[in-house]
Symmetry: C2
Subunit: 431 residues, 2 copies
């Protein structure tokens, strides 16, 4: 008999994984809320035309899970990220007070070739500010991201890379007059993986002129503090309006955030999605080298694609799946917690099951996550199962306990064992 | 310009709705955990063959969102409930300690005709016990259900109806020798809506013999306490093994739960899904009359469809969408909370924005959900927006506050206004 599996690239989460995931989602939610973001939800399914033309060619032609309703013939798609649905949401809810700050934690679907750390269904954890064109909003997103990483247990060992689409456009499209900058961006984006010589090699492969390659090389290898890099870029292109505007914007962000230990301007940062228009960010861990664990930026024209009038917006998406994988690898997270159950009622004598049932009710009422034997197992088996799951309290119910309306409690962590009157259980365990 | 909407039958949840939903999901989670259930998750997408042949004809041919991967040609489906995915999960995780108690809160998709209270995407909140054939497990599911409804704010005004598929099979298929009982079940299931005469009318329409109609009428109109109904059924069919077994099983459940004010045996309860094999339950509210708000039962052969060897299981699905709709209608729930933000920093003087930014950080660090102006709005506008959202604390930052490193706090609920040193903020707000 062939047992069906989850579809390729999709995953089941048993309790040990799910307990960890839920804890991390809570940490993120608390952080989002602390920064004044409120939750929203949107459907998993959108009309195809909502997603079409927003993400770029590869996503559109290959990566979006697209399907046709066999009855109506209507084209649908599973959501590809949480940003385009947010833009559609804003377009449908024009009465929301601005700036509108929302967070959204939920699954998205991509038709990727599954591999280590890459799934076809994965959660994104997004926070976005809609309605402010100012660097304050971008700065808040960056502070939130740093705080979220810290709250998730990554105290150091990560960097927030910051660039601006206007710098890319100003330098590569206006100043270097590249008519087709996309392959150049793609090459630059690999700097981390293939090094400066690798990038130069790639640029030669696309037959870029040597003098332009030289200029690109200079730009992407500027090193220094954020201020130094911005000064250097500005000195090179101080007559380009777009570049001046971007440098100004980035400088205000960096000054407000004021955390040079985390934030660095990175002239090689590109990011894949089409819809960014201003500052872009990416968070990378020092180790393991698993690519970025968060990314985002400003997209001032995306909502306008729906309503014909631009509304500025900026945000970040925290890649919780990679963070979980990395955290487990680094030993920051463990899967040792197999149950949330705190007490197991062990039935020593089936004649007193009714009493054990009452005790279970009382323990639950006292706020203790409690199980009782449901399998008519021997007390040895009941005990072994509870211990295998790491349940802290064993609560024994036999003849003696039933007759005296007591319970015998064994704390598996301390080794303490004591008898309590049933009527006093609430006082002992009440949290 | 045509603004795209969420697909028909799908919904957006703005913060006010989402804040309510999240609170109710938390209430349910806490209840599930108190009863010793642990969380799992499974994919939204399953292979079509996983869902095929499990739910009955209507679901299979009309209601499951089924689609083909345009690249591989492989057939997929969006999950239709959380029970069949659980069965597949168990089949894939044979090393789980039994009984396995899991809860699962997540969306499911049905290709229904959208109407009031009926959506194409909706959340289910399920708790199931896998591995126990005993009535203790069913009893625990029923107690959990009652407790969950109470925790959700429905102190009274609901009933748990209980029947058993073996009674239906024993009475209608074995004793009454109906070769095609499905139309009869469908008629009986409408008792609530169309009354006894209505059911009789339906049975005549399908040309059932009058003596059988008379017997069916007698069965489904038995009234009394659970014990009286079970006695009455048993006295009629005491030689039918299946019926005796079911009566016995139900009696143990009713005795353990021992809550006649909530639980009633209902011989007209059928439930739609194919996979039930034993006790079945349904929860109905007295008002509003919106159909059942929870339902479940025992399905001892479903997992066996995947692994060729039966594993007993029983569970309940709490219909949170109908509960929310009903709760709002009854005034138990409100949508008045528009934000989780507790404090708004009002910038009186933009020259001191840096100081306001520091204050915001400190408030967040103290655990207060805090916003700061990101729109360079006048202080009047900042204030109006905060009040429109119902934010409790307004924290004013102007020249005076910046120079003295203080903040002025205004409590919009009490009307109190006071000045605090920045360094003492933590002490005031720390939770």
């Amino acid at each position: 008999m062939k047992v069906p599996r989850p579809p390729r690239g999709f995953r089941d989460f048993p309790p040990d994984r799910m307990i960890l995931r839920k804890r991390l989602f809570s940490v993120l939610e608390e952080t989002f809320q602390k920064y004044g973001f409120d939750p929203i939800d949107t459907p998993a399914v959108e009309y195809w035309e909502t997603l079409a033309g927003k993400y770029g060619e590869e996503a559109e032609n290959r990566l979006i899970w697209r399907f046709q309703d066999p009855w109506s013939g209507r084209e649908y798609a599973l959501r590809y990220d949480l940003t385009v649905p947010l833009a559609r949401f804003i377009a449908n809810h024009r009465d929301l007070p601005m700036p509108f700050k929302r967070y959204h934690i939920g699954p998205v679907w991509r038709h990727e070739e599954p591999q280590r750390g890459r799934y076809r269904e994965f959660y994104q954890c997004d926070a976005d500010i809609v309605g402010s064109p100012y660097p304050e909003a971008d700065a808040e997103i960056i502070e939130l991201t740093i705080d979220a990483l810290k709250a998730l247990g990554f105290k150091t060992g990560f960097k927030v890379r910051l660039n601006d689409r206007r710098l890319l456009r100003g330098i590569f499209e206006q100043e270097l007059e590249l008519s087709n900058p996309l392959p150049v961006y793609r090459a630059i984006d690999k700097l981390d993986k293939i090094g400066l010589d690798g990038v130069v090699g790639e640029l030669r492969k696309i037959n870029l002129e040597e003098n332009k390659i030289e200029k690109i090389k200079n730009i992407i290898s500027i090193k220094g503090t954020s201020d130094e890099i911005l000064d250097s870029v500005l000195s090179k292109y101080k007559n380009n309006k777009l570049i001046v505007e971007a440098v100004d914007h980035l400088r205000t962000i960096v000054e407000l955030v004021d955390m040079d230990e985390y934030v660095e301007i990175d002239m090689s940062l590109v990011r894949g999605l089409d819809y960014y228009t201003g500052p872009i960010v990416e968070v990378v861990l020092e180790r393991p080298r698993i690519g970025s664990v968060a990314g985002g930026g400003r997209y001032d024209t995306l909502i306008g694609m729906f309503i014909g009038q631009d509304i500025p917006a900026t945000g970040v998406s925290i890649g919780i799946e990679r963070i979980i994988d990395a955290g487990i690898e680094l030993g920051i997270y463990s899967l040792s917690k197999k149950t949330l159950t705190e007490a197991q009622v062990i039935v020593l004598d089936r004649n007193h099951y009714d009493y054990a049932w009452q005790v279970t009710r009382r323990l639950r009422k006292a706020g203790l996550n409690t199980r009782i034997d449901l399998s008519r197992a021997s007390h040895r088996v009941q005990r072994r199962k509870a211990q295998r799951l790491g349940i802290k309290y064993l609560v024994f119910i036999g003849e003696k306990e039933a007759v005296n309306r007591k319970v015998t409690i064994y704390d598996t962590e301390t080794g303490d064992r004591w008898e309590v009157e049933l009527d006093h259980i609430d006082k002992i365990f009440h949290k």
